[in-house]
């Protein structure tokens, strides 16, 4: 059988992944890399680019788009191609919009609430829809993105139809015992939003990493690899599918809530099919086996898109070509370039 003795203990040192989606324990190198990432986000970027609102905004977008895509990553981990994330981002955005403009709820309360509302809606719709697999699930979720857009369009007085909701107030200050912990977000300075976005991203990464390496993550893997077998050993497949989908929608909702406050508006057209598709693409581009996949994918594509600003007219076209090239030549994503055998070694891996 050709067993290689030194590979019997495969888990330690499958350092092919930036953050091992399977290992419960991170190697020192991985912790170092993650710390480096956090440092770059929170220290290097503000220092180097702090004077340039344009770049800060681009990175803010990238950060939250990665966060939203992390949600889609979770549904990938149970074996579904989820094209509905745009719908739940829209729900989150409208949740903030309505709560803030109509009921004066503070953004800081709206944020988790949007997540919960999206998650609840996701659980409700997901319960029956998750029975579908493969293309059926993809088509249905794609249709869901459209359906929610139409719902917003026809929401009458609540969603204000095509005109959308504007003048969504920016996040206010958070104070404790008279001390301001978080300053009021004003329009001139993009940094507070940037820091919030990065904080969300880091929190999201840690949360999803924990999910993936815990027993729950293994249950999800079992669902992805063989639902029947999982059922035969007593796993309540339907329940765990909904948990995964709910978690995904939670992240989508929070992302949408962020953007609603960031841009201070929300329209039915804010998230379209293209956006749902993009979230999925970010995951794929980075590499589905890696938790950092969506992050790499989103950052690369968002930054690339901006860089192509020079070729304005052909920006979208080049984007499309890039997509196909990546799919054909990097089917396991960019992060798989660091490993041999596309990251699927004989031992361990995905």
């Amino acid at each position: 059988m050709g067993l290689e003795i030194n590979q019997l203990t495969h888990h330690e040192g499958s350092g092919s992944s930036r953050i091992a989606s399977e290992n419960g324990r991170l190697s020192f190198r991985q912790k170092l890399r993650f710390a480096g990432f956090v440092l770059i986000l929170f220290v290097a970027v503000p220092i180097l680019l702090g004077r340039s609102p344009y770049y800060i905004t681009v990175l803010t977008n990238a950060a939250i788009l990665s966060f939203i895509s992390l949600g889609v990553w979770i549904t990938f981990s149970i074996g579904r191609m989820n094209l509905a994330q745009g719908a739940f981002a829209l729900v989150g955005g409208y949740a903030v919009a309505i709560l803030a403009t109509r009921y004066g709820v503070s953004f800081w309360l709206c944020l988790p609430l949007s997540g919960l509302i999206s998650a609840a809606l996701g659980a409700l719709i997901g319960w029956p829809v998750l029975r579908l697999k493969g293309v059926y699930f993809a088509m249905t979720t794609l249709s869901l993105t459209e359906a929610i857009r139409l719902l917003a369009l026809n929401g009458g007085d609540i969603t204000k139809g095509a005109t959308g909701i504007v003048n969504i107030p920016r996040p206010g200050a958070i104070g404790l015992f008279g001390l301001t912990i978080v300053p009021e977000f004003n329009g001139a300075d993009p940094l507070p939003f940037y820091f919030l976005a990065c904080a969300l991203l880091v929190l999201g990464l840690v949360a999803v990493w924990r999910l993936s390496t815990s027993r729950l993550g293994w249950v999800f893997r079992s669902l992805r690899q063989n639902e029947d077998l999982a059922t035969s050993i007593g796993i309540n497949v339907a329940k765990y599918r909904v948990i995964a989908f709910g978690a995904c929608c939670f992240m989508g909702g929070i992302g949408g809530a962020f953007f609603a406050a960031f841009h201070q508006n929300i329209y039915p057209a804010t998230y379209t099919i293209s956006d749902s598709v993009n979230f999925m693409l970010y995951c794929f581009l980075g590499g589905l086996s890696y938790i950092f996949g969506p992050v790499v994918g989103a950052f690369l594509l968002v930054i690339a898109f901006e860089l192509l600003h020079a070729v304005q007219d052909y920006q979208a076209l080049i984007y499309g070509i890039l997509m196909i090239v990546c799919m054909l030549w990097l089917p396991n994503g960019i992060l798989s370039l660091g490993t041999r055998h596309d990251g699927k070694g004989k031992y361990g891996g995905r």
Binding site: G134, T140, N154, I324, L328, P331
Partner: protein, 283 residues
């Protein structure tokens, strides 16, 4: 209202059959189907609308252009993907990529504006209390003719039978000496051409703009979800269902509520019957 339903149903059937063909032969959901429809519309717009080429000739051009696109997609993209034997999601993703490609290509070349073409025939017919513009009648007749032609082709010609065999069992067909790659490429070309033809026909009724791609892809999806993916009668059934529901809906209800109801109904329908009316259960 019912008449409109028929017109829509027949044209939608072209779309549904095209995507069903591709799906059944190659197991790929052609996400770019709507974009192909759109390109068909643009070909007719340019040839017939701008350069005043004969309408029917421009339809032939549609077949050539879209056939070439479909053929290239299979030959250069999807075949490669199959050889690589990666995760199954990758084919779907590639399909999404092709849709993006066509969408952005069209946007770059054709711009954003809505375009229309002059009517091919003028006049109005009266059927009972309904009015049927001759243009719509023409479109309906042509679509019907194409559908019949397609069904005959698939049933009786060598290539058509090869496609059916491929849809049923790839391995066995290969073993029987059929050049699977070639048949698949022709299949994709044919499916694409059907989408384009539907676009070329409907452009005379609705006009076209580069944004309709996703809209029609979704229509295609809805039809095969209702009727069952990968089966021809299912496609036709789905087209009839959607055509009529749309016509009736737009007549009776304001604007976008029609589709909202369609989606809600669809989701409920799928919950109860995930494989569609006639389809095999998926996954």
């Amino acid at each position: 209202m019912l008449v409109n339903g028929v017109v829509l149903a027949v044209n939608y059937a072209l779309i549904a059959l095209g995507i069903t063909l591709i799906f059944s032969i190659m197991n790929v959901l052609n996400f770019a189907h709507g974009q192909m429809f759109m390109i068909g519309g643009f070909v007719v717009y340019y040839l017939y609308g701008i350069f005043k080429v004969n309408y029917f000739v421009s339809l032939v051009a549609v077949v050539i252009v879209l056939g070439a696109i479909g053929w290239s997609f299979e030959t250069f993209f999807f075949r490669r993907m199959r050889r690589m034997a990666t995760r199954e999601e990758n084919s779907m993703l590639l399909a999404v990529g092709t849709a993006l490609l066509l969408e952005n290509l069209a946007l770059s070349i054709f711009g954003e504006k809505q375009r229309g073409v002059p009517p091919v025939v003028t006049g109005v017919f009266r059927i009972g209390t309904a009015y049927l513009p001759a243009g719509r009648l023409l479109v309906m007749v042509l679509a019907l003719a194409l559908i019949v032609g397609l069904l005959l082709f698939v049933q009786y010609t060598k290539l058509g039978r090869a496609m059916r065999a491929l849809a049923q069992d790839r391995e066995v067909t290969h073993l029987m000496g059929v050049n699977v790659d070639r048949v698949a490429a022709y299949g994709f070309a044919l499916g694409a051409a059907l989408a384009g033809l539907a676009g070329g026909l409907l452009v005379t009724v609705f006009g076209v703009n580069s944004g309709v791609g996703n809209v029609y892809s979704i229509k295609a999806f809805i039809m095969i979800m209702i009727g069952g993916a990968g089966v021809v009668p299912g496609a036709i059934l789905g087209a009839i269902a959607l055509g009529f529901v749309e016509a009736i809906g737009y007549e009776l209800l304001p604007g976008s509520i029609t589709y909202l109801l369609i989606f809600t109904g669809l989701i409920i329908f799928l919950i109860l019957r995930p494989q569609g009316l006639l389809g095999k259960p998926w996954g």
